[in-house]
């Protein structure tokens, strides 16, 4: 006889879509801010080392960094020359740039504020602290005091935030959205870090493998905190194609495209409830295709296609995955122009 004992129902794991939206963007913006901070810090150091060298590729270094960040047009609207001061100003402090460090931290904090009841007190305090710190300072003061300390603080707060999330956020649907945002953003930033090298004027044939080329690739690896890990992977000198291979295909380095997309793919399965062998949603379809590419292709392949073209392809795929997930799980586009708002009942069928 079926039991009629009262059943303990586990707490509902259903989440509001606007909460998912805020957690996702909070995570993305923090990751973005950290990546830009590291990118700027490494490249400022790089250019200090090469100060005085009259080489086109060095002079154009800042232009290439701004171009790969996707802010080329916006930068040109507000600044005349791409040098260390204007680039730092644009990429770190300019609120007119929606992807500047300041804009990112402000946006992360705003999203965190909207879901304050979902995140731990420590997580909130960390973001808020960073926000207040940035708000109180202006660019000139920081620049004078030493940009390095500034970037260190951004990175440290980001790491602290991630560590707190790891130890104080319950492993629920919200956790999945946070991780999804983080790895999606990280993959995107890695493509841009690699793309910096493309935008630099192609060196002369003699320069390939030379000191400048090597130093530039070293800067690329450092921008992803990958130099030491790369050296364990390939002990000899820094070869451009080996560095690119590492940052694209390594399945163990946590900032490589392969690793990040593997996480995104896995998280999507859980977020979208995709348990079948074949993907049902557009986001899962694109993600699995991208992951399959990263699993099976090789660096000669990529170089034949063109590193820049390959990176653009990856960026597009990542953009579409993000858009699709937002539209499927958070906010779908509403056709407000339509004038029939009447809600109707689905027709019922009589049981015969």
């Amino acid at each position: 006889m079926p039991s009629v004992a009262p059943m303990f129902r586990p707490q509902s794991t259903v989440m509001l879509s606007r909460v998912a939206h805020s957690l996702y963007w909070m995570s993305r913006y923090i990751e973005r801010a950290e990546n830009i901070a590291r990118l700027l810090e490494v490249n400022l150091q790089f250019l200090l080392d090469f100060q005085g060298i009259d080489d086109d590729s060095v002079k154009d270094h800042w232009g290439s960094i701004i171009a790969s960040s996707g802010g080329g047009e916006l930068f040109a609207q507000h600044y005349d020359v791409a040098d260390s001061r204007s680039a730092t100003s644009f990429l770190a402090f300019d609120l007119r740039n929606p992807s500047s460090i300041l804009s990112c931290v402000y946006a992360a904090r705003e999203n965190a504020r909207m879901v304050r009841d979902q995140i731990s007190l420590e997580m909130w305090e960390t973001i808020n602290e960073l926000y207040l710190f940035l708000k109180a300072r202006n660019a000139a003061v920081v620049w004078a005091a030493g940009a390095n300390e500034f970037f260190e603080r951004i990175k440290q707060h980001s790491h602290l935030f991630q560590g707190l999330t790891d130890s104080t956020f319950s492993r629920s649907e919200g956790w999945e959205f946070i991780q999804f945002g983080k790895f999606l953003e990280r993959a995107d930033k890695t493509t841009r870090i690699l793309d910096v090298k493309y935008h630099i004027l192609l060196p002369n044939a003699d320069d390939v493998g030379g000191a400048l080329d090597t130093a530039q690739w070293q800067a690329v690896l450092r921008s992803a905190s990958a130099l030491e890990a790369y050296r364990r992977f390939y002990v000899r000198e820094i070869l451009s194609w080996k560095a690119a291979e590492f940052l694209i295909f390594s399945d163990t380095f946590p900032r490589s495209l392969h690793y990040c997309v593997a996480q995104v793919n896995d998280l999507l399965r859980r977020i979208l409830g995709e348990t079948g062998a074949r993907p049902r949603s557009e986001a899962a379809r694109i993600s699995r295709r991208l992951f399959a590419d990263l699993e099976s292709r090789s660096i000669p392949d990529v170089l034949k296609q063109g590193l820049h073209e390959f990176l653009m392809e990856v960026q597009n795929a990542l953009d579409r995955i993000g858009d699709e997930v937002v539209q499927t799980t958070m906010f779908y586009p509403v056709d407000t122009a339509s004038d029939d708002h009447q809600q109707l009942q689905q027709q019922q069928q009589q049981q015969q």
Partner: protein, 287 residues
């Protein structure tokens, strides 16, 4: 018996619709009389996997929404169910209900004795109960329920298209005709007026005597509570116990608790609703 059930419902709208939110109760149950080996739910168009929850009655409800504009919605299920063989089913105990019998305690099942939307506790139903037991005095719980079910079978005509999905038991009673949904509602009305806790069951049955042109559709019958034994199904449309040919999906007070598909949407009205059901036996040679 090993059965395969395919159930496809197609909604064709007369124009574009959007914001469609739906719940379906279509998954065969797992209980001591059947086990659902496989259940596939396919909805077109759909961007994300349907999710599910268990409702108050223990029915598994799948829900999904189609926010984008569409003109057709197809909901298809494909299940494989193993039903307990007839000879393995335990025999139903005798619970005396004659003049000196003690009435069973049914407080935990009050909802199955109370009025509900499709089954009002009307005087006409009580009257009918008295007539039945005047002819066949009460003896035991199960036999009483069977007597009531048989009464419906004998005095009602099975006529499709004379009632609708919204017809309640008292209206069907007036007409004395309808389909299984109505037969079940009337039997429920009689049982409840007789103090027998009973519930509405939706599902399918394997019609081994089916003519090729006979319509197959989702079926409804009644389950009666035998205290300390459990719920036993009786089909008033065919005057028989719900045996190994019956696949149970959901149970509730009446049709409104087990709606196979229910939902809302915004936009044009439905132009066409097509339902196709097929129930086949899987024999070792033909799976």
């Amino acid at each position: 018996m090993l059965l395969r059930v395919v159930h496809r419902t197609t909604f064709v709208y007369s124009g574009p619709v959007r914001d469609s939110f739906n719940e379906v109760r279509l998954r065969p149950v797992d209980d001591d009389r059947q086990r659902c080996n496989r259940f596939d739910l396919r909805v077109t168009p759909l961007r994300a996997e349907p999710r599910d929850y268990e409702d108050y009655y223990g029915n598994r409800v799948y829900y999904f929404d189609v926010p984008e504009s569409h003109e057709e919605l197809v909901i298809e299920t494909d299940s494989e169910v193993q039903t307990l063989a007839n000879l393995d089913r335990p025999s139903i105990p005798l619970i005396p209900t004659g003049p000196n019998a003690k009435p069973p305690a049914l407080e935990l099942h009050a909802e199955y004795l109370a009025e509900s939307h499709y089954v009002p506790l009307a005087f006409e139903l009580w009257r009918e109960v008295q007539d039945v037991f005047a002819a066949t005095p009460r003896s035991d719980l199960w036999s009483d329920a069977v007597a009531l079910g048989n009464h419906v079978y004998k005095t009602f005509a099975y006529r499709p298209n004379t009632t609708g999905v919204n017809t309640i038991a008292t209206d069907a009673l007036k007409q004395r005709m309808g389909v299984c949904q109505d037969f079940a509602h009337v039997m429920l009305g009689l049982c409840r007026q007789a103090g027998i806790a009973a519930r509405y069951v939706s599902g399918y049955f394997f019609n081994d005597l089916r003519r090729p042109d006979e319509i197959e559709a989702s079926h409804a019958w009644v389950e009666v509570l035998i205290p300390e034994f459990g719920w036993v199904g009786y089909d008033p449309t065919h005057a028989r116990i719900a045996d190994e040919r019956y696949v149970k999906i959901a149970a509730g007070r009446d049709y409104s608790d087990i709606r196979p598909i229910s939902g809302t949407y915004r936009g044009a009205p439905t132009r066409d609703l097509r339902v196709e059901v097929s129930v086949r036996e899987i024999t070792p040679a033909t799976s």
